[in-house]
C-alpha cells in the first residue's frame, strides 16, 4: 500500500474525470477535481442535444450527483489562475492556494479565432463548453439568419442545432468540399449533398473575411473572401480548437501548441501530468498525431495516467485509431487509417448505396493486401471485428467475403453485405 497522496486534477472533462475515477478504483489517494465550467462532470459531446431539446443538462451527467461524495472525489468550482511548480501548489482566482503531490492538467481546448475583424462581437462564438451553450441559447433567440464558419465536426453540429430552431443557415466552408482534409472525396460529397438536402446554404471554397457590427456591438453580417456581404445575427466560428494552456505561462511547464508530455503523459516535472485535448505528445506513435482532441483519447489517457500514478508505470498506447460522428442524419464510423488521399502503396475499395447516403470504404496495402482502415457512412460496423482485422493484417479478400461479421446494424435492417459490390 503506497502512502496517501493529494492529487489535484484541473478540468472535469472526460480526461480528468476518467483519471479521477480510475485513481479511486486503484487507491485511497485524496482526489480534488477543479473546474471553472460546471459543478459536475457532464458530456460535452451532448451540448448540441441540450440546445435541440433532446435532453436537459441533467441528462448529460453520466453520474448522479451523489456519486462524487460517495467515492470521496472532492469537486471544486474554481478557476486556476496559476500553477506554482516550485512550491507544488496552484493558485485559484479566489486567492486560495492548494498544494498537491501529483498534478493532472486536463483543461481541454479553446475555440480558434484567427484575428478576424469583429470576432469578439456579441453573437459571435465557438461551441466547446457549457458557457458557449448558454450564450448560443441567448444570442440565437428570434434571429433571422445565422452563419457558421468551418467545415468540420463542430461546424456541422452548429448547423444542425440552428436548423432545429428553424433558423436559416449559411455554412461557409473554406475547402472545396466538407471536411475534405479528413474524408476522401466520395464520403465528403455524401455529406455535401446531405447538408444541402436540409436546405442549408452551403458555400464551398468560401472563407470569412470579417464580421460586421451593428451600432450595439452585435454581429449584423459577415463579409466573405469573395466580398459578398451576408446579413446574419449570429456567427458560429467552428474553425478548430487549440489547447487551453494560457494559465501555464511562466509556470516552467514546457509547452508547444499543447503541454508537452512523454509516453507516460508526464510533463517536464515528474509529478505533473497532462491529458486529453491540452496534451501534446513529444513522440506520437506511428500514424498518430501529437494532439488528438477527441473523446476517446481523453478517456484512454485518463485510464493510463491513473495506472501510473497508482504505481503501475504505464505507457500511453491507444492502439488502433477509431472515431465516430454523426452528420445530421448520417452516422459515420471509422476504424484504422483512412486518409483523405490514399497514401503511397495503398488502394481502397469503395461502395456507395444507390440513394447516396450509405457507404463503405476499405483501405488496404497493395503489396500485402492487408486491410488498414474502414470508413462507414449510414452503416454500423463492429469495432472489435474491424480492429481485429486491422491488427492481424487480414487480407482484403477475406474481409470482403466475411463482411457480415462486422455488421452491427440493428435487426431487420437490409443486409448491406449482400448489396455491397466493390
Amino acid at each position: 500500500m503506497t502512502a496517501q497522496k493529494h492529487i489535484i486534477i484541473i478540468g472535469n472533462g472526460i480526461a480528468g474525470i476518467t483519471a479521477a475515477r480510475h485513481i479511486r478504483k486503484r487507491s485511497d489517494h485524496h482526489i480534488t477535481v477543479i473546474s471553472a465550467e460546471t459543478d459536475h462532470f457532464f458530456s460535452r459531446t451532448a451540448l448540441m442535444y441540450i440546445y435541440m431539446g433532446h435532453m436537459k443538462y441533467e441528462h448529460t451527467k453520466p453520474y448522479e450527483d451523489w456519486f462524487w461524495d460517495k467515492n470521496s472525489i472532492i469537486l471544486k468550482r474554481a478557476y486556476v489562475s496559476k500553477v506554482e511548480t516550485n512550491s507544488n501548489s496552484i493558485l485559484l482566482d479566489s486567492g486560495e492556494r492548494l498544494t498537491y503531490d501529483e498534478l493532472i492538467i486536463a483543461t481541454g481546448s479553446v475555440s480558434n479565432k484567427f484575428g478576424w475583424t469583429g470576432q469578439d462581437l456579441k453573437g459571435v462564438q465557438g461551441l466547446y463548453n457549457y458557457q458557449d451553450l448558454e450564450s448560443m441559447e441567448a444570442d440565437t433567440k428570434g434571429i433571422e439568419r445565422a452563419v457558421v464558419v468551418g467545415g468540420g465536426l463542430i461546424g456541422i453540429e452548429m448547423v444542425e442545432m440552428l436548423l432545429s430552431r428553424q433558423i436559416p443557415v449559411t455554412f461557409l466552408v473554406r475547402e472545396a468540399s466538407f471536411w475534405d482534409n479528413v474524408l476522401p472525396k466520395e464520403e465528403s460529397e455524401i455529406i455535401n449533398r446531405h447538408i444541402r438536402s436540409h436546405h442549408v446554404d452551403l458555400r464551398l471554397k468560401t472563407d470569412l473575411k470579417e464580421i460586421l457590427s451593428d451600432e450595439k456591438g452585435t454581429a449584423r453580417a459577415v463579409l466573405t473572401g469573395d466580398g459578398e456581404e451576408i446579413a446574419c445575427q449570429f456567427v458560429g466560428l467552428a474553425v478548430g480548437v487549440h489547447p487551453n494552456i494560457s494559465f501555464l505561462k511562466d509556470s516552467g511547464i514546457e509547452t508547444d501548441k499543447g503541454i508537452l508530455v512523454n509516453e507516460k503523459l508526464q510533463t517536464n516535472f515528474s509529478n505533473i501530468y497532462a491529458l486529453g485535448d491540452c496534451a501534446q505528445l513529444r513522440q506520437p506513435r506511428e500514424a498518430r498525431r501529437a494532439i488528438e482532441a477527441v473523446w476517446y483519447t481523453g478517456k484512454m489517457m485518463g485510464e493510463t495516467v491513473a495506472a501510473t500514478i497508482c504505481g503501475n508505470q504505464t505507457d500511453y498506447n491507444p492502439g488502433i485509431w477509431f472515431n465516430s460522428a454523426k452528420f445530421m442524419d448520417i452516422e459515420y464510423q471509422t476504424y484504422g487509417y483512412v486518409s483523405a488521399q490514399l497514401k503511397e502503396g495503398e488502394e481502397s475499395l469503395y461502395w456507395e448505396s444507390k440513394d447516396g447516403v450509405r457507404s463503405i470504404r476499405i483501405v488496404f496495402q497493395s503489396a500485402t493486401k492487408s486491410v488498414v482502415g474502414f470508413n462507414a457512412f449510414g452503416i454500423r460496423l463492429r469495432h472489435k471485428v474491424c480492429e481485429q482485422w486491422i491488427k492481424t493484417g487480414t487480407s482484403v479478400d477475406e474481409v470482403v467475403s466475411s463482411l457480415k461479421k462486422a455488421n452491427f446494424n440493428p435487426e431487420f435492417f437490409k443486409k448491406f453485405e449482400k448489396e455491397v459490390i466493390f
Binding site: S43, A46, M52, Y296, K384, K414
Partner: protein, 457 residues
Amino acid sequence: MSREGFSISLASPYAPGMDGIQKFGIALFVVALLFTVIGLFGPAANDPELFFYLGFIGSVVGLSIYTVRTYLNRPAGVQNNHIFTSSLTNRGLWGWALGIFLTGFYVALYWGSDEMWNGSPLVLLFNPLSQGLFNHPPDRWFLYSFIYTVSILIMGVRAILKYRHSNYQIVRTCSIMFFQLGFAFLIPQFLKSMSQPEYYFSYFWPLDYARLFPSTVDGMLSGGTIGIWMLIISAILTFIATPILTYFFGKRWYCSWVCGCGGLANTAGDPFRQLSDKSIKAWKIERWMIHSVLVFITVLTILLWVNSFLEGGIFGSISHALTKVYAFLIGQAFAGVVGVGFYPLLGTRVWCRFGCPMAAYLGLLQKYFSRFRITTNGGQCISCGNCSTYCEMGIDVQAYAQRGENIVRASCVGCGICSTVCPRGVLNLENGSTHTDRENANPITFGNDGIGLRKGI
C-alpha cells in the same frame, strides 16, 4: 436557462410552423372533437350515427392527417427536437392537464357506477359500431377497448413514421398494432357476439391474474370444448411458451411485440417515454415493488386453489379478501389509473416497470436464462446520454455503454429505442448463441492497448 417551468404553448416555441395540410388536419380534428363534445351533452344519445361518423371518426381522421403530414415533412432520422422544450412532453402545463384528464377518465371507468355509464351519450356514441360489427350493444368496456385500439393504431402509424429510419421499429410497431387489433379487440368481441367467453389470447397469467383462478378454470371447463382448449392454451402460454420464447429472444417478444400495455406505451405513450426516472433509487424501488407483486399474485393463486380443494376451509375469507385487494390495488389503481393516467408525468412504462407480475416473471427469465442482450460497440460510446434519456424503463443504458459492457437487465423490454437514438452506432439488440456469454465487465476502454486488463476479443 429560461426554458424551464410552465408554458401555455402546446408545442415548443422552436417547433416549425404548420403547412396547409397540417392546418387542415388540426382544424378537422378540433371541429369534429367539438361536435362530439356537444353530442356528449345529450344529442348523441338520439342520433349516435351522426355523432359517431362526423364527430368521432372525423376527429380521428383529422388527427391522423396532421400526424402523418407532420412526420412526412421531416427527413427520416431521429426526431427528438424540442421534446424537452415543449410543455406537453416536459411536464409543463399541458402535460399536467393531460395527466389529470387521463387519470380522471380511468377513475370514472373503473369506479363509476353502471347507472352513470349505461345509457350515457359517450357509450351510446359507439352503438353504430358495436351493433354493426358485433351485434351487441356497447358498454363502457367496449368503449374503452375501442378507444384503446384506435389509440394504438393511430399512434402506431405515428411511431412508424417517426422511427422510419429503423426497420426494427417499423416491424415491431406493426406487430403491436396487429396483436392489439386482432387478439385484443376483434377476436374477443367476435367471441362475445357468438356467446362465447370474451377471450384474450394475448393476455395470460400472471398479467391476466384471474386466468388461473379456480373460479375461472371452472367456468372454462363448463364452457365445453372451446373452454377446455382455451384453458389448455392459457397454461401452455404461461408455463411453456413464455420460458422458451424468452430464452431465445428475451422478454421483448411479449412486452414490446405482443402485449397491449406495452403496445399503448410504445405508440400513444411514445411522446412521454423520456420522463421515466433513471436514478439508482428508482431502480431499487422497482425491484422491490415488481417482485412483491409477483409474489403476491402467486401466493394468492395458490391460496385460492388450496381453498378450493379444502372447499372453503381455513383460507376462505382471507383469499377472497386478498383477491379484492389485488383487483383494486394492482389490477385497477396501478395498471390503469397510474399506469396510463400518469403517462405525461412519470413516463410510459410505470406499470410495466414497477407493477406488472408478467414483466417480473419474464424479467427473471431474461436476467438468468436468456440469450438476449444489448451489446455495445467496442469503445465508441461518447456518454452523451441519449440512450438513458429515452429508455422508457429507466435503465441507465449509458452506464453500461460507456464501459463497453453488455446490458443484461431484467427490466429491459427490448423496445430498441436506445439503439435507434444512439448517434454513434453503439447499441445493438442481439440474441446470442448461448446465455452464458453475456456478462462482459470491461473496465478499460476498448482499444486502449496500453493497459493490460482487456479480456480477449
